[in-house]
Symmetry: D3
Amino acid sequence: MKQTSVVYPGTFDPVTNGHSDLIERAACLFDRVIVGVAENAGKNPAFTLAERVELLQETLGSLSNVEIRPFSGLLIHFVRSQGARVVLRGLRAVSDFEYEVQLAGMNRRLDPNLETLFLTPAEQFTFISSSLVREIAVLGGDVSSFVHPRVRAALRKRFG
Amino acid sequence: MKQTSVVYPGTFDPVTNGHSDLIERAACLFDRVIVGVAENAGKNPAFTLAERVELLQETLGSLSNVEIRPFSGLLIHFVRSQGARVVLRGLRAVSDFEYEVQLAGMNRRLDPNLETLFLTPAEQFTFISSSLVREIAVLGGDVSSFVHPRVRAALRKRFG
Amino acid sequence: MKQTSVVYPGTFDPVTNGHSDLIERAACLFDRVIVGVAENAGKNPAFTLAERVELLQETLGSLSNVEIRPFSGLLIHFVRSQGARVVLRGLRAVSDFEYEVQLAGMNRRLDPNLETLFLTPAEQFTFISSSLVREIAVLGGDVSSFVHPRVRAALRKRFG
Amino acid sequence: MKQTSVVYPGTFDPVTNGHSDLIERAACLFDRVIVGVAENAGKNPAFTLAERVELLQETLGSLSNVEIRPFSGLLIHFVRSQGARVVLRGLRAVSDFEYEVQLAGMNRRLDPNLETLFLTPAEQFTFISSSLVREIAVLGGDVSSFVHPRVRAALRKRFG
Amino acid sequence: MKQTSVVYPGTFDPVTNGHSDLIERAACLFDRVIVGVAENAGKNPAFTLAERVELLQETLGSLSNVEIRPFSGLLIHFVRSQGARVVLRGLRAVSDFEYEVQLAGMNRRLDPNLETLFLTPAEQFTFISSSLVREIAVLGGDVSSFVHPRVRAALRKRFG
Amino acid sequence: MKQTSVVYPGTFDPVTNGHSDLIERAACLFDRVIVGVAENAGKNPAFTLAERVELLQETLGSLSNVEIRPFSGLLIHFVRSQGARVVLRGLRAVSDFEYEVQLAGMNRRLDPNLETLFLTPAEQFTFISSSLVREIAVLGGDVSSFVHPRVRAALRKRFG
């Protein structure tokens, strides 16, 4: 039998209920799910890498076959370093789709052994994105139906 | 360890190199790949169900963890009957994406345990579709770079 | 104050919970909602025009400012005959969007006074379409979460 | 009879003929059109909030049922503060559509009473955007067929 | 200097003002424009091949470097038979784009020397399609702003 | 016979194999291909204008009917200054398509004599973009299958 490890990469700035839904589904399907938290220093994230990892831990730490790991550098190197060859990505919208297909094509060229699998979130999560959640939090809106209570608290502390 | 069976459904009228590429990739990732050949009597296919199954057998029969099975009725019933809960679909274009997401949503409603995973074909197969292959064959064009030699022979026999 | 009448046209073959959701929202926003049931003889619908109108009546008849009316001929003529100048359409997917914009452009050319307003369905209805509902019913699937009980009964009677 | 107030929000940096076309159409359909000018301090707009409001006033001030109002904070709070429950948005392209549907879904979650209606601009305005207009002005191009003469003068003053 | 011949293929059932606009633009850009009228017997067109060619002649016959020619069989064979290697296609919408890119990819595989160039119609023609024109004509609508007077007459004769 | 000059504009930060493929195809189709390198000072490019021009020269300088020219200001002014009236653009994805159509519409308004022709890259180049190439280079990945050796050397020098 095959042991299947998948890497679910992202910035998670911060983790939303949409991400959690996907990770929970993946944890049911695969032996091991490695959530790869990209440093993304260039994008000037709202939360530090350590904070983003911690919020993921608090949200999903109880799932026994899920590991939260920060990474910098190329995704293909991180995937290999984890002994994996499958990348998992979420697809919500057409614009996601195009970018993801482009990325998957690039990654396949960089490492022909790498495969990218796509999963769609539950319908109630299709319109949630980290950037919209941050925007609502900045403007003082209620994000409680989009993120975990710990993330909501962190957003409040961050944006006041 | 999880034993993962995936069902890759389609009409396969006829199987193209794009389908084969996806099935071969899937066979590397999952323990068992069940290729579900939909009867689709309503769509008036060019090849009979038996012919479509046979062409798939001839093209992919050598892969030990791939099974070719015809089915009629609802996909979710077929998936359950195979002891599986994962559907695999290929994504080539934006229009595929929308239809597939709609289908995946419907199927998730009909059976909340069902998951749909998506895979993209290798770049050289993104523009191949069974309907374009049939059209070229009808007009007497050369389909040898799009399908297996046995499929080409079958198309020639069928369309003269 | 303006009295606003909107025409919501469609084939409704059959009416789904997605249509009902849109009509209920429209009934809250506008003074009068005329549901225009297109004959569409050319498309060979599963239900007769009379049956489609009746299923809409049974589903939505209790809304006091909603009227169900069959029509044949050009939409712009029907809209004018109802003393209206606004067409309401639902938008679920990108492919809907393009077709709808094309139609709206054509109709604006045919009658510059006509406006088309678009509304999106609630997230849980984005993947429901009449054609998928019919397909599930034909294959013996359970459509109870997609349509009104009366529509389900009609589908069962129609497709056995 | 229902009194219908709609809020048409945007940055209007600056207002284009495409915006004006939409506002004029809306003014014919609804009792009251509130043009909500978002502060958007984060996006570093080319014109100040006061300038953007003034250019809208000069362009559309003569329409009796149109009000131009600046706002900061969440759109749903602004809509409520105006005694309205309908947001109006323009749709030009598929990429607009996806973002708008995402926003409409988020807003519906934040306030289930809120509805978003979409309108398409006249065909000759589909390719006009504030950002392209600014870009042309920066490069010394002629924007007279895209914006009101007062806006053109303001762009010239701003970008020299 | 290169002599550039382009083939503009289609069903032209019937030719619309959108097609004419594209052909006129092409006639200004290229030395020779061959309008290839596909037989498309399988699609059961409203007008015969001879009628479609004739309507194109009446609409565009005065352009000295435009030739109207019927063809059956594969497009690549027709292009070669005309001593050309460039196919010209119109792009109106995203759905066009995807299908056209798929076709261009297929054709490039069948004949690596073949190139496909795309042109967009003038904005006022983006929403015109032969199928919508036929639909309006069938329902007794006025098509005079979408087609040449001769085409309108032919539609009236055909659909009564 | 018409002498056809086309302008292929871009930032080329840096030139990729996808750009080269398009330029080579264009050089076969048209008498003169002017590669217009936009200054784009506002976008803060990774390479200076002079460096981008030089990398293009080193990659494509051997093509006799291709000229590499920097430009600032409006594209339509540059096109006219070259005695050309045709702009050539590449189309890879739906999101490209929409932006390009918007640009082409704007440019047609600014100069009704200007035409934009679109070409699609070979399938193996559809997923290459300058921004993804830069991102891979920044992270220390191998870009040798996406760019010319001289460009790879320049990226290594630039990003270390």
